[in-house]
């Protein structure tokens, strides 16, 4: 197992589109293991996307099980993930291992339906909400070359936003 180097903005690889995974082979399994170890080595990291370590493939790992009392699916390796449905909007605070020392507010869908392949290459579907749904949306953005910095909203005027989005 190896810890991979996490790229930090302004590394141009973070702004590139990632390519779908064509085949799940031994090499990919080793990469996924290393990617997960890298996520867990970071302080407080609940997700990671392959482009964050410079690999432009559509692979993300999410695990929000460290947060008690929320609906979640535990450890998830998601290959070629696609959000098929969105519902609701919520503002939440995000940071990123690729953008140290900065957090900001981002609006994300509250509930999502997701389809993806698991580590074994089997198609899976998930209904997600809240913090886990936010984590998945943050990581899928990485696959499309987007950072949370691309989606920042003002931390002020909270009342106005609630009126609009509730």
């Amino acid at each position: 197992m190896a810890l991979l180097n996490i790229l930090q903005y302004p590394d141009p690889l973070l702004k590139q589109m990632a390519e779908p995974v064509e085949a799940i082979d031994n090499e990919l399994e080793i990469f996924i293991r290393d990617l997960e170890a890298t996520m867990r080595a970071g302080p407080g990291g609940v997700g990671i996307a392959a482009p964050q370590v410079g690999i432009l493939k559509r692979i993300i790992i999410v695990d929000v099980s460290s947060k008690p009392k929320i609906k979640q699916h535990g450890r998830l390796v998601l290959i070629n993930p696609e959000i098929t449905e969105w519902e609701g909007m919520a503002k939440g605070r995000e940071g990123c291992m690729s953008v140290p020392d900065y957090t900001g507010n981002v609006i994300r869908a509250k509930n999502i339906k997701l389809s993806a392949l698991n580590e074994q290459g089997e198609p899976c579907e998930y209904d997600m909400e809240g913090f886990e749904a936010r984590a998945v949306q943050h990581e899928i953005d990485h696959l499309d070359g987007l950072l949370f910095l691309d989606r920042l909203v003002s931390r002020h005027h909270d009342l106005f936003q609630r009126k609009v989005y509730k």
């Binding site: 970071g42 302080p43 407080g44 990291g45 609940v46 997700g47 990671i48 996307a49 999410v62 947060k67 939440g92 605070r93 995000e94 940071g95 990123c96 291992m97 140290p100 020392d101 900065y102 957090t103 913090f131 936010r134 984590a135 943050h138 990581e139 990485h142 949370f148 931390r155 002020h156 005027h157 909270d158 009342l159």
Partner: protein, 175 residues
Amino acid sequence: MPNTRWYMLSLIGKDRSGIVAHVTSALYEGGCNLGEASMIRLGGNFSMMLMVQFNGNMHALHEVIDNEAESLDLHLHIDHIEGRLHDHLTPDVRITVYGADRAGIVAKVTGVLAEAGLHILDLESDVAGTAEKPIYVMNIEGHAADGIPVLRSALEIVKKEGVDASLDEIDTLIG
């Protein structure tokens, strides 16, 4: 840039367009580097607070900016500060308070919250409504040093004063 010092510049004056561009151009041309900054229009005035890194003394920094500040009719104040970048505290709580405007809301609310361990990192307030019926709205982000439950209890005290208040935990996602 060895030996560079940090200064805090405060500039306040009647709002007009172009203030930021003029001030920051003068600072840039004078060899300054900007750090964190906060700028906002308050009651028709524009107020700026800027961390400025500059390789010179206070007198030399005044020479860089005084003329521009004067021509824009901005009141200028400079402090030498023990500043550094990459020293952010992450807020873990957001509190919104609003109600019919009257004197003393901020003092009452922040007093109760401070006793309950709130460290304010960012406070933004506004007076909305109409001249006849003004509404005071305050947004606070901070760190709950003694935990969230004690702040929630404190907020109940605040509500008895006739203002509406809500508290949201900020659970920062790191991905």
